[in-house]
Symmetry: C2
Subunit: 709 residues, 2 copies
């Protein structure tokens, strides 16, 4: 696990805290923080500062920070923005090493606020102080315990879910809502403007907390994408991290030169980054905490096979629908299990999965059946459905099954349907830390996340070795660029060849005679492809002609192509026409590289051709790729799936595609100056016969365009 930055320790294990701006007026936030600090039962020293002096909640109000007696290593500044720099000076002089700045009125309000932030940061550096905020509500730890927030009481109940948030309002709502949902929090951190301490800084510190079993994050972005990923990756191997990333549609896409660029929005980058880092991405607040509860309270399943146990057919059917569409499987029960179920259930009951005990099921039948299902080797988890039983109380069923769930090494998630009639059962389940949800769909979604995380931690990290790539041969090609940064076709071929990606023979011809001679030399059939500045999609202007079978055809088409292009694109600067070896027929895919400003190079794979943007059959992963990334790219696209063959389409060389993807990812990682690469099509020959980068472009550029964010 990542080492915890020791400079952050005063935030999480303060010896003493001073609240600057403490107030005796109960309507002020400066009273609220004082009250929360005292009521939280924090064992360290608590000091209050207010220039007016006096007393607050039986404690003195010191007029100055300098007056505060030791120990004090953390300050909470609840004073207006313009006074913050001076207070920071005083904190620094006092030897305080960590400061929470709650006030708004900084960069979010314009230039003056920004300059205030600059002052704060300068002072913090001068005194080696760490800053949290500004514009935040503070942080709390229910186990230390410690509550340095101005949240209205009562604070959250102690629990196993930590919450890191870029939004303070969401913190307030979540703390209140969690109480009603029956789960507690371990730590909560509101990050505000992140002038200094950011989400990446606090993640390992939060994850290191022994009371925290799962970390949830509400993110509006990340500060340094690659660093965040590295840190998160170290955490997720040991503790699950869930994130809700908002601001997906914050702005439109900018114009980009390639299909890859057009398709690689910021959201695709976050998806790829979260996947690589092992972060589970929620898309709604409810998903975030539904899943967190399951991860915090349940053992992980060994596989995807779910047994459904119900006293009613309808919700059973709904559960099966959800299981089939979520990547889980309906377990096939062992014959012995079915026989034993038969013995404890009425004759009309269904002992096949989903097991329907019928409406009369007693607490004992629930418990017996659950035990039998858990004992079945073909069952990895159990989804237990409990609408109010007509003849028994739901609470009675809860009491009968909780000991079994407690002892089980497999997850048992409960769909507890209703409201008033299930209150007692709900309280029992919550007290026993059994995840319960109102409807089967949400239960199944949580179970699927348990399976997803279990599969992630089981999957070994296999280092990818690519002994055959030659960066030293690639390097010189990057200088052969036009004004827009595009590599010459020859340079692209050399670049890809240096990384073991085969390119057909091709040479630039300046006139029809030269083209014919080159064609004769490399053997027919050949293709002619225009090379011109200012034209990125050659086929759009008639600049690509394939399958020319003799010298006459080459000469005729050469002349014709130039005439056509000059007419349609009179501004284009034509460098010549590429004469290219034709490749036998195969499946056509697209592979590409785009660069995200947050997460760096992304590799794209999918269905190519001119319609790649329209079809959208593409997937992304972060470069360099792991074998798991390549699995993902091939499994999540039709282009990847059909490599195995489909109807008349013979199986294609999927191994060569894998090699190409890994090498392209390495190339992108090795040369940060490569802004975009696109091979469209990459022609995939039948199994064992390799691939050809039939048409490829590459662009060098320092300016990184934010794609869609």
């Amino acid at each position: 696990m990542t080492t915890i930055d020791s400079t952050l320790l005063p935030f999480f294990q303060p010896q003493g805290i001073v609240l600057v701006g403490a107030s005796a007026d109960p309507t002020k936030l400066g009273f609220g923080v004082a009250r929360n600090l005292l009521q939280s039962d924090y064992k360290g020293a608590i000091h209050f500062v207010n220039p007016k002096g006096g007393a607050l909640l039986s404690r003195p109000l010191h007029p100055h920070i300098a007056d505060v007696p030791p120990p004090v290593d953390l300050a909470f500044l609840l004073i207006p923005a313009p006074f913050v720099p001076q207070a920071l000076q005083e904190c620094g002089q006092k030897g305080i090493r960590a400061v929470i700045i709650a006030a708004g009125g900084f960069r979010e309000t314009g230039e003056t606020g920004q300059s205030l932030e600059d002052d704060c940061l300068r002072i913090a550096h001068q005194y080696n102080m760490r800053l949290m905020g500004p514009n935040c509500i503070g942080l709390l730890d229910t186990h230390l315990p410690f509550d340095a927030t101005f949240l209205p009481p009562p604070g959250p109940t102690p629990g196993a879910v930590a919450f890191i948030s870029h939004s303070g309002a969401i913190c307030a709502a979540v703390v209140d809502w969690a109480r009603g949902q029956g789960f507690g929090l371990s730590r909560l951190v509101s990050l505000g403007n992140q002038l200094d301490v950011c989400e990446t800084d606090v993640l390992p510190a939060i994850a290191a907390d022994p009371y925290t079993r799962v970390v949830t994050m509400y993110l509006e972005g990340v500060t340094d994408g690659r660093h965040f990923m590295q840190v998160a990756q170290a955490v997720t191997r040991h503790k699950p991290v869930l994130a809700l990333k908002v601001g997906r549609f914050a702005s439109g896409q900018q114009a980009v030169a390639s299909h890859t660029g057009a398709l690689a929005g910021a959201d695709a980058a976050f998806d790829a980054a979260f996947r690589r880092a092992g972060i589970i991405r929620a898309h709604t607040n409810e998903e975030l905490f539904d899943w967190a509860r399951a991860l915090a309270w349940s053992p992980l399943p060994r596989g995807p096979r779910v047994a459904v146990l119900t006293n009613a057919g309808g919700p059973g059917v709904t559960a099966v629908d959800a299981i089939e569409s979520s990547g889980l499987q309906l377990a096939v029960l062992q014959p012995e299990t079915e026989a034993q179920l038969r013995a404890v259930l009425p004759p009309a009951a269904s002992v096949h999965n989903p097991v329907d005990m019928l409406a009369g099921a007693s607490p004992e039948q629930y418990a017996d059946s659950l035990r039998l299902l858990l004992a079945d080797e073909g069952v990895d988890s159990v989804l237990l459905i409990l609408p109010p039983p007509p003849m028994y109380s739901a609470g009675g069923v809860a009491k009968a099954i909780i000991p079994t769930i407690y002892a089980a090494q497999k997850p048992v998630l409960v769909t507890l349907m209703g409201e008033r009639l299930i209150q007692e059962a709900m309280e029992h389940f919550r007290a026993a830390r059994v995840p319960e949800y109102r409807f089967p769909e949400r239960t199944v979604a949580a179970l699927a996340v348990l399976h997803q995380y279990a599969a992630y931690v089981r999957q070994p990290v296999v280092p990818v070795a690519l002994p055959d790539v030659r960066p030293e041969s690639a390097q010189p090609t990057l200088a052969q660029v036009d004004a827009a940064g595009f590599l010459s076709p020859t340079a692209v071929s050399q670049l890809l060849t240096a990384y073991g990606i085969p390119c057909p023979a091709n040479h630039l011809a300046q006139n029809a005679q030269e083209a014919a001679a080159l064609a004769r030399q490399m053997g027919f059939p050949v293709a002619l492809k225009l090379v011109a500045e200012g034209i990125t999609h050659k086929s759009d202007v008639g600049g690509v002609r394939l399958g020319l079978v003799d010298e006459t055809a080459v000469q005729t088409i050469f002349t014709d192509m130039l005439a056509q292009v000059r007419q349609r694109e009179p501004e284009a600067v034509i460098a010549g026409v590429l004469v290219q070896q034709m490749i036998p027929a195969g499946q056509e895919v697209i592979v590409g590289v785009a660069r995200d400003p947050q997460f760096g190079p992304l590799v794209m794979f999918g269905s190519g051709g001119v319609e790649v943007e329209g079809l959208g059959d593409v997937a992304f992963a972060l470069a360099p790729l792991t074998e798991a990334d390549v699995d993902y790219l091939l499994a999540h696209t039709w282009a990847g799936r059909k490599l195995a063959g489909f109807r008349h389409l013979p199986p294609a060389d999927a191994t060569a595609v894998r090699h190409t993807l890994l090498r392209l990812g390495q190339l992108a990682a090795d040369f940060p100056q490569l802004a975009e690469i696109e091979i469209n099509p990459l022609l995939v020959l039948p199994a064992g016969q390799g691939v050809w980068a039939v048409d490829a472009r590459a662009r060098v550029g320092n300016e990184i365009r934010r794609l869609g964010d």
Copy 2:
């Protein structure tokens, strides 16, 4: 609106009810129904029958049905299955016209149960009685009022949402859950095995109830798809109907001959049927009732433009994400609105949409801003976000804004975040029938459904007239079939031509010489296509060769093709080779017809070629098509969107595609014996130049295969 079947009236407006199987034992269901009947404040006559006699809840227990005094037109049988037929006889003799059978133990248990059902139905027919159930929990009406169920008390609060359910357990859970969610029910019907009365029967009766503003349905299937659609279509023009259809994955797909068949699963048919009938399809129980509350309580928006009003940035961003991805739009506020907002809000507030009033927003600022947004002509609805305000109470905000929401002609949906701190606000909103949800995503989803339903009722039903179709010319072609029911290629051409779908000239040749002669006659280039029984995908076995430019090529390829096919498919019975006029290049799409056992003919449209199944870029609508269906098919597929042109792809003749789809739909509707039609590809020429059905197959068959259900 559909006329209500008068035979169903005793279920919904009974003059008197007899409960057969009433019990004085409070642990029995026969006590529960008696108690609910009495406690429901039902104004009609209530009679109890139990062979033991005695009294129950101060009323006599009559030993026989015959002993019951008038009035009585409805019976509730709560007796074991084997006794039901005899009781039905007695009901019939008593003149009772409607019977609810609660017991299980009928067809769901096997042959004996099935035969019991047959007996019941025979007796019902004999006496003109209608039956509800068996295996159901009864029905209730909170406004009549009337509660003939054995649900544990208290029953639902009176409300505007009706619920029709195939599952009794779901009824119990929903009634209980609804209370906690703060909405009431108008009527609830549990249908059980639907021996007689089914979902289609009760839908118009329920919708006719003046207290019911929205009908929700939990469906495990429908009894007669086309009839259900017609009935529902009449209802949804006046009252919204929401349905949750479960059992999507009830069984695997069966083998089918065409791409269209393979892709047209039962779920696609339900989607198409619900869309045509104007039924809004929910995918989870929570969606069903989230959306029902909004439809029951809110006016409909005039358009998709949403203003967001918040006191916190984070949830505002989440709301914008959800709006952008749900078919709604973020409203652009008028400059006057922004100026007026500026006047009531602090300087740092954001007066652009999403309007962020900042954390200090007072109840008055909420109310003022809401009024300004509602007055803006560019705003169709308002999403108001209310996390617990740090300085005010959420309840105070609720009280300040409810009068404005009440008076508004536009929907205002509220995201009320939290739990304990929002209790008072929640109660105010619920009492005032203002839809409130915990998180922005669910609020937006409900708002999107309001917009969807508003767009549906606004959209005029345009009758489609196709004067140029000639069923009389199509009829004879249906006899020209092979053993498997496939029409001969010539017959397919004649069939499509009769419906105005152009087919290239083509003739069957028996030998190479004949093929060459035919080709010369129709003009080069031509295509050769194998015609053989037992081979459905010709291109898979080398049976399709295109672009043959002279007689020699035709002769060589003819011979070669037959040799190849004989080698690869020695069992195939070769009828000859089709010589076909070649068509100029264009966009290729697939159009097809499959027949669903429930809903009849479905028209498919999408991206064609051999990979149609893999790419899955297809959409379905029910035949015959409306113009709105054609809009849907073109808008929901890349194949349809690219008809407008894309990069180098010139715009294609979308009008001709529309014509073809409408005519194909009419053809499918006119000839129920057509089991499958597939045109792949339909070649679409540039705008104004029409389409060609280049390759088409059609199959006649009576056996209807259930696709995926």
